[in-house]
């Protein structure tokens, strides 16, 4: 009976995971490590449609299948004055693009609100059926 609400709920789960990954990327985008260590790897959430179908062969929503990490190389900067510089005076900074992350944050927020709208509209439709008086 609640297929629409459950499907939209899986959408909210996926967008919430996306927002968590974006916040992790933004929190760690200034992690500086010596040049011989691995830099912070930005996280991208992999999502895929749920296997199996519901009524009439319609799908049953989305699920998070894993997290893809970006390259561990980051950007090699030459900064001998830094306290973390290695023997060659190099440090690594993560290659997190803040503009791209903020755009993704807006998309994740709009996706989350769109799924919430689906849930509330489905609930209004179900409650309208309760208004039928025989």
């Amino acid at each position: 009976m609640f297929e629409a609400m459950n499907t939209a709920y899986t959408g909210t789960e996926a967008t919430q995971a996306w927002m968590t990954a974006i916040s992790n990327n933004l929190a760690n985008m200034n992690d500086v490590v010596p040049g011989d260590k691995a830099a912070y790897r930005a996280e991208y959430v992999d999502v895929a449609e749920n296997a199996g179908t519901g009524a009439y062969g319609i799908g049953t929503g989305v699920s998070v299948t894993g997290v893809t990490l970006s390259s561990a190389d980051g950007t090699l900067e030459h900064d001998p004055s830094s306290a973390l510089a290695d023997a060659q005076g190099d440090v690594r900074v993560p290659d997190v693009d803040m503009a791209q992350q903020m755009t993704d944050l807006i998309m994740a927020q709009r996706g989350y609100e769109a799924n919430l709208n689906t849930i509330s509209d489905a609930e209004s439709a179900y409650k309208a059926a309760l208004g039928l008086t025989l």
Binding site: M1, Y9, G52, T53, L130
Partner: protein, 122 residues
């Protein structure tokens, strides 16, 4: 007379697919919505036993009870701060609310039909 029993059987399948099913195991376990295969199997089982009116009504009430208890478990998790997902609790509470209202509406219609039959003059 089979139409109301069919409606009651479909109500009994509500509780089989609530958001965050089986959330009583551990407080920190992330609850996920039941799969459509489980919901379809439960719906088929509920509709296959369309025997007496009493069994259909009891199955419907068990389904609503399952939805309500799931919402209560999630409310306890939210109150104790163990919940990771606010949306889970809100959707489960909404589903419990709609299922309860639907059960009450069906009961009212059944009682009204019974009273109309009883009011027929002999």
């Amino acid at each position: 007379m089979t139409a109301p029993i069919g409606a009651l059987s479909s109500i009994g399948a509500i509780g089989s697919a609530p958001v965050g099913a089986a959330a009583a195991a551990t407080p920190t376990a992330a609850a996920s919505p039941a799969t459509s295969a489980v919901a379809a199997a439960n719906l088929a089982a509920a509709q296959s036993t369309s025997g007496s009116f009493g069994t259909s009504l009891s199955q419907a009430l068990q389904g609503v009870q399952a939805t309500q208890s799931n919402a209560d478990n999630l409310a306890v998790q939210a109150a104790t701060g163990n919940m990771n997902d606010v949306t889970n609790y809100m959707v489960a509470a909404e589903q419990a609310n709609v299922a309860t209202q639907l059960t009450v509406a069906v009961r009212n219609n059944a009682v009204q039909a019974f009273q109309q039959i009883m009011d027929m003059p002999l």
